[in-house]
C-alpha cells in the first residue's frame, strides 16, 4: 500500500497520530478515525505460517506457541522444506538384493542448511518424526515458573484479604446476591496451588553469582574461520543454546503467527475481523478508512524555491458509493477554541485553498469498463478543477513556501459522509459532515522531481 501513499499524505487520527490513510480505521459508529495505536487488539487464532494449521489460544499455549510439524532454519529463520532422497541399500530379507530406500530430510531453500548439518538421521516419512529440541535449562525454567506462580498466588491472596477485611465493616445485604458472590470469591482464595507444583517450587533455589566464568573459546583467538562462526542474529534467535559455531546450530519449531481483530476502544464495535481460516485473506468486517474517507494524493509539485509562489496539483478520490461534497478548510482554524485543539508544528507553509465545495461523484465499479466520457460537474469551480475522471478529481492550489526544504502543508478535509441506518426493514440514509486534518509533506515529493 506504500505505493499509494509514500508517506507524503498523512491523516491525523483522532488520537493525534499521523498516519497514511491505508493504515487507519474508520469507526462507523463513532464516525471517527482510529489508528492501530488507539484500538484494542484481540488475538483470534494462532496459526502456523507454513502449514496453515490453526489452533486456539490455550492449545497454542500448551504447544509453547510453536508448530509441531514445521521447522525453521537456524541460520536465516525461514521455514525448512522437505527433500527426498533415494538410496540403494541391501534388502533386509535378502542381502544380495538391492532395494531403493526413500528417505527425507529438511533443508533451507535460502542458505542450504540441512538436517545433515545437525547430523540428524533422515526420516522415512515426509513430515514429522523429528526429535523435539529440549532446552538445556528446561527443568530450571519450569521450577522457576512454578515458584513464581506460587509467589503470585500468595501476593494475590494477601491483597484480596486486605480488600475483604476492609469491606467487612459494611453490612452486606443478600438482597442483591452480593454476599454469595463475595463468599465465593473468598472461597476461591482459599484454594492452594497443586501439590506437585508446590513440590517443584520447594526445590527451587536462588541462583548464585560466580566469579569463575568460562574462558573465551580458544578458536576465536587462534585460527578463526569466519564462515564457521555464527553471527549475532543466529545466536540471539537460539537463546537457550547460544551456539558459537555453525555446527552447533539446531533447527527450531516454527513459531506461530496470530490473526488479530481490532475493536474500537470507545464504542466497542469491531473495526476489523478476519476470517478464522488462516488460508483466507478475506475479512468478515473491514472498516478501513481507505474505503470510507476521500483520499488526497499529491499529483504534481514543481521545484520548491523559498518565497516563490508555485502551483501544486492534488487529486481527491471518493471511495464510497455515494456522492461526496468536499471542502478544503485551512488548518489554522483548528487551533481556535472551538476546533479540535490539535496543534501541527510540522506545517511550515499555508496554502491558498480553493474556496467553495467540490463534488466527487460516487465510485462506480462498472464505470471502469465504459468509455471515459467524463463531463465536468457544473457545480465545481472550473478555475480550481484540473481534470475529472470517474470518482477522481484533480485540483490545483497555490503555495508560497517560506523555505525550500521541509515544506509541509496542512488542511482540514471537510466532507460529507452518507451513513446507512438499518432499522428493521427500513433503510435510511443520513448525511453527516466530517472533518479530518490532513498533512502533506511536499518536500519528499519535490526532491524526487528535482532528481528526475
Amino acid at each position: 500500500m506504500e505505493i499509494f501513499f509514500p508517506k507524503v499524505v498523512n491523516y491525523v487520527c483522532t488520537c493525534g497520530a499521523r498516519k497514511p490513510l491505508d493504515v487507519l480505521f474508520y469507526c462507523k459508529h463513532c464516525f471517527k478515525l482510529r489508528c492501530g495505536e488507539c484500538v484494542s487488539h484481540e488475538v483470534d487464532t494462532h496459526y502456523c505460517p507454513n502449514c496453515l494449521e490453526f489452533m486456539t489460544s490455550p492449545e497454542a499455549r500448551v504447544k509453547k506457541n510453536v508448530c509441531t510439524t514445521c521447522f525453521e532454519c537456524p541460520c536465516c529463520g525461514i521455514a525448512l522444506y522437505s527433500r527426498g532422497t533415494s538410496k540403494q541399500v541391501p534388502s533386509e530379507k535378502d542381502p544380495s538384493n538391492m532395494v531403493v530406500n526413500k528417505a527425507y530430510y529438511l533443508m533451507c531453500n535460502s542458505c542450504k542448511w540441512s538436517t545433515h548439518d545437525q547430523s540428524l538421521e533422515d526420516q522415512p516419512t515426509q513430515s514429522g518424526g523429528w526429535p523435539r529440541l529440549e532446552a538445556p535449562n528446561q527443568d530450571r525454567v519450569h521450577q522457576l515458573c512454578e515458584y513464581y506462580r506460587i509467589v503470585a498466588h500468595q501476593e494475590k491472596v494477601e491483597k484480596d484479604k486486605k480488600r475483604i477485611t476492609q469491606k467487612c465493616g459494611y453490612y452486606i445485604s443478600d438482597k442483591y446476591g452480593v454476599a454469595s458472590v463475595a463468599a465465593k470469591k473468598y472461597m476461591s482464595l482459599q484454594v492452594t496451588p497443586r501439590k506437585e507444583s508446590q513440590k517443584v517450587a520447594a526445590e527451587c533455589f536462588a541462583s548464585k553469582a560466580s566469579e569463575v566464568v568460562d574462558d573465551l573459546p580458544s578458536d576465536f583467538l587462534e585460527e578463526l574461520n569466519i564462515d564457521e562462526v555464527t553471527n549475532i542474529r543466529m545466536r540471539l534467535s537460539n537463546p537457550d543454546i547460544q551456539p558459537e559455531k555453525m555446527s552447533m546450530l539446531k533447527m527450531r519449531n516454527l513459531k506461530l503467527l496470530t490473526k488479530k481483530s481490532q475493536r474500537c476502544k470507545e464504542c466497542g464495535h469491531s473495526l476489523r475481523k478476519s476470517e478464522y481460516n488462516p488460508g483466507s485473506v478475506k475479512f468478515k468486517i473491514q472498516l478501513s478508512a481507505y474505503y470510507h474517507i476521500p483520499y488526497v494524493r499529491v499529483k504534481q509539485v514543481p521545484n520548491l524555491i523559498a518565497g516563490r509562489e508555485v502551483t501544486i496539483e492534488l487529486t481527491l478520490t471518493n471511495p464510497t458509493s455515494h456522492e461526496v461534497a468536499v471542502e478544503l478548510l485551512p488548518m489554522e482554524e483548528a487551533n481556535t477554541p472551538s476546533g479540535s485543539g490539535l496543534l501541527f508544528p510540522e506545517v511550515t507553509c499555508s496554502p491558498q485553498l480553493p474556496k467553495g465545495t467540490l463534488y466527487l461523484p460516487a465510485k462506480d465499479d462498472t464505470a471502469e469498463y465504459d468509455d471515459p466520457a467524463d463531463k465536468m460537474d457544473d457545480r465545481n469551480d472550473k478555475s480550481v478543477v484540473t481534470f475529472k475522471r470517474l470518482n477522481k478529481l484533480g485540483i490545483k492550489m497555490q503555495i508560497t513556501p517560506k523555505q525550500a526544504e521541509n515544506v509541509a502543508i496542512g488542511l482540514r478535509l471537510k466532507h460529507t459522509y452518507t451513513n446507512l441506518i438499518i432499522q428493521g426493514d427500513k433503510r435510511e440514509y443520513e448525511v453527516l459532515s466530517l472533518i479530518h486534518p490532513v498533512l502533506l509533506n511536499l518536500s519528499h515529493f519535490a526532491k524526487n522531481s528535482i532528481s528526475a
Partner: protein, 183 residues
C-alpha cells in the same frame, strides 16, 4: 527463431549429448560439454578468451556467462546457472549453483560446491572456497556440507523435451566423423 540453418559460428564446439537451443546467444569461442543444456535467451559471451563449459551444466533463460579476459574461462561439471544470473568469474569449479539474478564479478574464482543465492552479489577480488553458500539480503556466507548434487533427472527431462519445441544446434563431429564428447 525461424531459420533452420545450422549456426554459422565456426568457433562454437558442441559435444554429443548436449542440448543447445539455437535461440541462445553464443559469441566467440565457446566449447560446450556433453549433457549440458543451454536454454533459449541464455547468453554465453566469450568476448576475448574462450569459454569452455564442462559436462552436465544447465544454463537457464537469460543467464549470462561472460569472459572478458584473454585467458580461457573453464567451467567445470554439474553447475547450474539459474534464470537471470550474470557470471563473469575467471574460473568455476564443479557442482556450483548460481541462483536467480545472482551476480558474480570478474575478479572472482569460484571453487566447487558453492551456491550464490538469489539476488546475491559476489564482486570482490577473491577465491570463493569450496562449499560456500552466499545467501540472504546481506550476502551472508556460510559453509554448507551437502552441496554436491547433480541435476541428472532434470537434464534428462530437458534434453528430451527441449528438442520438441526448439531448434537445437547439432553437435560437431571430428574430421573422421566421430562424435565429440561421447565416450
Amino acid at each position: 527463431m525461424g531459420d533452420s540453418k545450422q549456426e554459422t559460428n565456426p568457433k562454437v564446439l558442441v559435444a554429443q549429448g548436449s542440448t543447445v537451443v539455437r535461440d541462445c546467444v553464443i559469441q566467440g569461442e565457446v566449447t560446450i560439454g556433453t549433457r549440458t543444456v543451454i536454454h533459449p535467451t541464455a547468453q554465453i559471451l566469450a568476448e576475448k578468451g574462450p569459454i569452455i563449459i564442462g559436462e552436465g551444466n544447465i544454463v537457464e533463460e537469460k543467464a549470462k556467462i561472460i569472459n572478458r579476459r584473454e585467458e580461457p574461462l573453464v567451467i567445470g561439471n554439474h553447475n547450474t546457472f539459474e534464470v537471470g544470473c550474470v557470471v563473469e568469474a575467471n574460473a568455476i569449479g564443479h557442482h556450483n549453483t548460481f541462483e536467480c539474478l545472482s551476480r558474480v564479478g570478474p575478479l572472482v574464482s569460484v571453487g566447487s560446491g558453492c551456491t550464490v543465492g538469489a539476488r546475491c552479489n559476489v564482486s570482490t577480488e577473491e577465491v570463493l572456497p569450496d562449499n560456500i553458500v552466499v545467501y540472504g539480503a546481506n550476502c551472508d556466507r556460510k559453509i554448507s556440507v551437502d552441496n554436491f548434487r547433480t541435476s541428472n533427472p532434470q537434464i534428462d527431462f530437458l534434453s528430451k523435451v527441449m528438442v520438441n519445441y526448439h531448434y537445437v544446434i547439432k553437435p560437431n563431429r571430428t574430421k573422421e566423423g566421430n562424435a565429440i564428447g561421447a565416450e
